[in-house]
């Protein structure tokens, strides 16, 4: 059975891009375009991994991450962001993200991280 991954991003372009990469490795992808939708879908769909944009209209990614952790303390979340600052990466790590992926996406790097996490290699 393929793993189910939820992509949360208010940019349709970024969702499309990640979806294409993940589906190329036979992952099942569900999408949410904001934080509230992500929380609802997480509850209903129980994805194996959430790929969460940091900067979205409405709720910010780190706030969504905190809420997800309240719903499920074992929620596996990777932050995706255009922000390349080391300090931002640290903030994501402190908030409980398993990893941090920079936009624009490099397919090989995305798949390495996702595969690693889904095979229980949870390191940042």
């Amino acid at each position: 059975m393929s793993h189910k991954i939820m992509v949360v991003d208010d940019s349709a372009m970024s969702r499309r891009s990640l979806k294409r990469i993940l589906e190329s490795s036979n992952y099942e992808v569900i999408e949410a375009d904001d934080g509230m939708a992500a929380l609802e879908k997480y509850f209903l769909e129980k994805p194996d991994l959430v790929m969460l944009d940091m900067l979205m209209k409405g709720m910010y990614g780190l706030d969504v991450l905190t809420k997800l952790r309240e719903i499920d303390k074992n929620a596996r979340v990777v932050i995706v962001s255009a922000d390349i600052q080391n300090s931002t990466r640290e903030m994501a790590k402190e908030a409980g993200a398993l990893d941090f992926i920079n936009k624009p996406f490099a397919a090989e790097s995305v798949l390495n991280i996702v595969t690693g996490i889904l095979s229980e290699e949870n390191t940042i």
């Binding site: 208010d10 372009m13 900067l55 255009a82 922000d83 600052q85 936009k103 624009p104």
Partner: protein, 210 residues
């Protein structure tokens, strides 16, 4: 506000590094090699921006705006000539537009491109100068330069500086003219200059004691 020669050199170097990262991001996005002109840098009062900008980008422009906050805070704007913006979205969507206008889908793509490029550039500032920069959600507008300037200076009583960085990207035989404009109030500008001074000292220490 006048920068010393050393500060100006350091700022130019910082912008060169930042634009190299921005160009790399653009290349990754489009899948094409991006040729980048060496960026030119100028400092203006925000209220006097009009002349310097409209010389290079007449008519309508596509601009993506992000407020950034932290020790150095202000407005970041990425301005693209309209034709360049259309070309860029065509490269990203693999679609050719008949009427050369940016439809809703193209605007959405362009907003995300702006987000990535502004983050790539300002992220280098954050990493190199050791200050964390937070970002607001990006917004796209299509306006003339004059409308943009009026919007930027609306109901602002304070003196603000605009760091204007102009460059040209050449992607797949087409030219995209772009400006990055950072508008900072006095406090933020002072802090930026202080961080640049520390960066200069840090570099000199490394040169003496590598």
């Amino acid at each position: 506000m006048v920068l010393t020669e050393r500060q100006n050199d350091a700022l130019t170097e910082l912008i060169n590094i930042a634009f190299a990262r921005t160009g790399a991001a653009l290349s990754e996005l489009t899948g094409h090699r991006v040729l980048l002109d060496s960026p030119s840098v100028a400092l203006h009062l925000a209220s006097e921006l009009d002349n310097s900008l409209s010389r290079f980008v007449p008519g309508e422009v596509a601009w993506i705006h992000q407020v950034f906050h932290g020790p150095v805070a202000g407005d970041a704007l990425l301005l693209l000539n309209y034709e360049g913006a259309v070309h860029l979205t065509e490269l990203l969507t693999d679609e050719s537009s008949d009427n050369s206008r940016l439809d809703e889908s193209a605007r959405e793509v362009l907003t995300e491109v702006g987000n990535i490029l502004l983050n790539a550039c300002l992220g280098v500032f954050g990493n190199v100068l050791h200050v964390h920069v937070g970002f607001s959600v990006p917004r796209l507008r299509l306006d003339t330069i004059q409308d943009l300037i009026a919007w930027l200076n609306r109901s602002r009583g304070e003196l603000r500086y605009a760091l204007v960085i102009f460059t040209r990207f050449q992607i797949k035989d087409s030219q995209v003219n772009g400006y990055l404009v950072l508008v900072l109030n006095m406090d933020s500008f002072d802090r930026l200059v202080k961080e640049i001074d520390e960066w200069i000292e840090e570099n000199e220490r490394k040169t003496i004691n590598p």
